[in-house]
Symmetry: C2
DNA sequence: TGCTATTATGGGAGCGCTCCCATGAAGTGA
DNA sequence: TCACTTCATGGGAGCGCTCCCATAATAGCA
């Protein structure tokens, strides 16, 4: 039932080409003709056929968003929702649409093919938290424009939007050290995720900057979930740390649950700091000291940058680092001896 | 750089048509030819051009997922992530892709046009929680296949997948009443959302079934957020209810925070029951009695049903109601006098 | 052996659009 | 007035695919 260019042309008494020019804001069309065509198009509620346009022009104005579902843990915290919101919002504003792929392991190869070939999309946002993602390699080989959310330290030819996880973590841990906590432990994220390994790196740096040697016994790895944080904290308890830098708020919440059960008070007996600043963190008891990252903004920037990369190809990778913010609340406490 | 049918044809020494037949598993192709074409396609890593196929065949194998962003509150609880996961998973399994639109109010009209026309998608999943959604009307007028997640009580010509909010709420409130609580209040969801008004309806039904008249003073409306639940509970406190049925777990968590601050113990002083069974609910202190709904499964079913509707058009609307489950935990307590 | 079903394949048209080139009208300067 | 540019428009080709129809090769049967 959908109207075609030809139909509009007939009704407006012009040719297909002229209508096409009007629809694409081509300059050399007479004012009157333009107005006439516009009104007919309006009346017939004309909307160009995307498939036909794509076929002719080789562009779809659709970008793909690929999220590896191996990390489904992340889906329980607000990270991805916020990211998606930022991305779709920027796409809306730039007349693009978003195709969503949750890359489930069992369909991985097919997803990759679909994403890469077939001309469905003009570019890809890869919200991969994984250190090595097969999709990444395929994207590079293919030459499809793409941008990562979260940086890949191993390759500096890749465009990305990220926060400086290393430095943010370093600053937070430095802050804990400055408060006077001596045994500062960390509950790290999975080291096969970029954010996980970067935040751990920041933790180590902060210690070294104070002339301290990171103690492996004070480093426990978990999976970014509340449950993981809970278990990790229990494993950490025998080490009797004064403070714990937890690599995500979700894990910090779990850690605090473990502490509560163990009869320890935060921050009096042990200080806690998280990372992410999810909405829950401000409502804990005690409220959680954490690192705020501009997730939604990362999403919009990734989309905008990608769209720009598609229309203005350019060999240089774009690298965007957004600032984070230390949010000091109750859980970090004050220096016991300063 | 992408290979075309014609290219495969040339290399395999057959015609475009034959290659097309092979790719679409058409029966009347010689075994040898088929094998030869297959191997060439494999070697050249051929992937049919989606735009061209869509243009020719009038189908895209893409479905749209439309989420009204007016209800961004829902994005902070795991409802939408789980729903999306269910949908994409079913789409993966059925060789479809998902186009995501978060319908921001400012782009609403354009979104609607994009979604409906342009032939980008074959059908729509409308995860609308709103009682009246302009998208809905547009979809109906257009005749594009679509299915809702969450039922629309006012219209029985629309296909949907839903849980029985009314009865689930009724059962939960009946349970609270059976425990012996006499003054049972409710923190309802927004009444312009279907789930909100349905759960309130269930609350009223349960009271009436016990011969009680719902007391407007015991009914407070909030917005499904933690913060909203917190404020609502504070407004409810002067009424001194024995139990509160809260229409979402997120709100229940907020309500419990308000109670804690007011020095009231759950469930000893006041019983609480929620709705949703988000992961957090099992880890509260006390753990939260709630209604579990199969969100992810609703997503997959919606996708599968929609895909079926697209390939087998049928005037009858499909209506699917999934069962819920009462999850009795600590917060509902035991009967004070039974 | 001749005739009709059956099977395997090729080629043309067309999906709705864009983009290039051709054409005619109008405007410019000598 | 005549070349010469500029502007507005039309028409053809082609994007890569599917689908229909034609045709050639083979099989089936009297």
């Amino acid at each position: 039932m959908s109207t075609t260019l030809e139909e509009i042309a007939k009704q407006a008494g012009v040719s297909r080409s002229t209508v096409s020019r009007v629809m694409n804001d081509h300059p050399s069309v007479d004012q009157d003709t333009r107005a006439r065509v516009r009104s007919v198009a309006e009346r017939l509620n004309y909307q160009p056929n995307v498939a036909a346009r794509s076929l002719a022009v080789g562009r779809t104005n659709v970008i793909g968003l690929v999220i590896p579902m191996g990390v489904s843990a992340l889906f329980t915290d607000p990270y991805f929702p916020l990211l998606i919101q930022g991305i779709t919002s920027a796409c809306n504003a730039n007349e693009h649409s978003v195709m969503l792929w949750l890359a489930e392991p069992e369909y991985e190869r097919r997803t990759i093919r679909q994403v890469l070939q077939g001309g469905l999309i003009d570019g890809v946002i890869l919200a991969s938290a994984l250190m090595e993602d097969p999709m990444l390699e395929a994207l590079q080989r293919r030459g499809l424009p793409f941008i990562m959310v979260g940086r890949l330290p191993s390759d500096n030819q890749i465009s990305y939007v990220d926060v400086d996880n290393v430095n943010s973590a370093r600053e937070m841990v430095s802050y804990l050290l400055r408060l006077g906590h001596r045994r500062v432990a960390t509950i790290a994220g999975p080291t096969n995720m970029i954010a996980g390994s970067d935040r751990l790196e920041g933790y180590r740096l902060a210690l070294r900057n104070r002339g301290l040697t990171p103690d492996p016994a004070l480093i426990v790895e978990a999976d970014f979930t509340e449950e993981g944080g809970y278990v990790a904290m229990q494993r950490l308890l025998p080490q009797a740390p004064n403070a714990v830098f937890v690599a995500s708020d979700a894990m910090a919440i779990g850690a605090m649950r473990a502490l509560r059960e163990a009869g320890l008070r935060v921050p009096d007996d042990i200080a806690i700091a998280g990372f992410d600043d999810i909405p829950m963190s401000a409502r804990m008891e005690p409220t959680l000291t954490t690192v705020r990252q501009p997730i939604q903004r990362m999403g919009s920037l990734a989309a905008e940058t990608l769209i720009d990369m598609i229309s203005h190809p350019h060999p240089q990778p774009r690298r965007i680092i957004l600032p984070t913010e230390l949010v000091i609340r109750e859980s970090s406490g004050f220096a016991p001896n300063r």
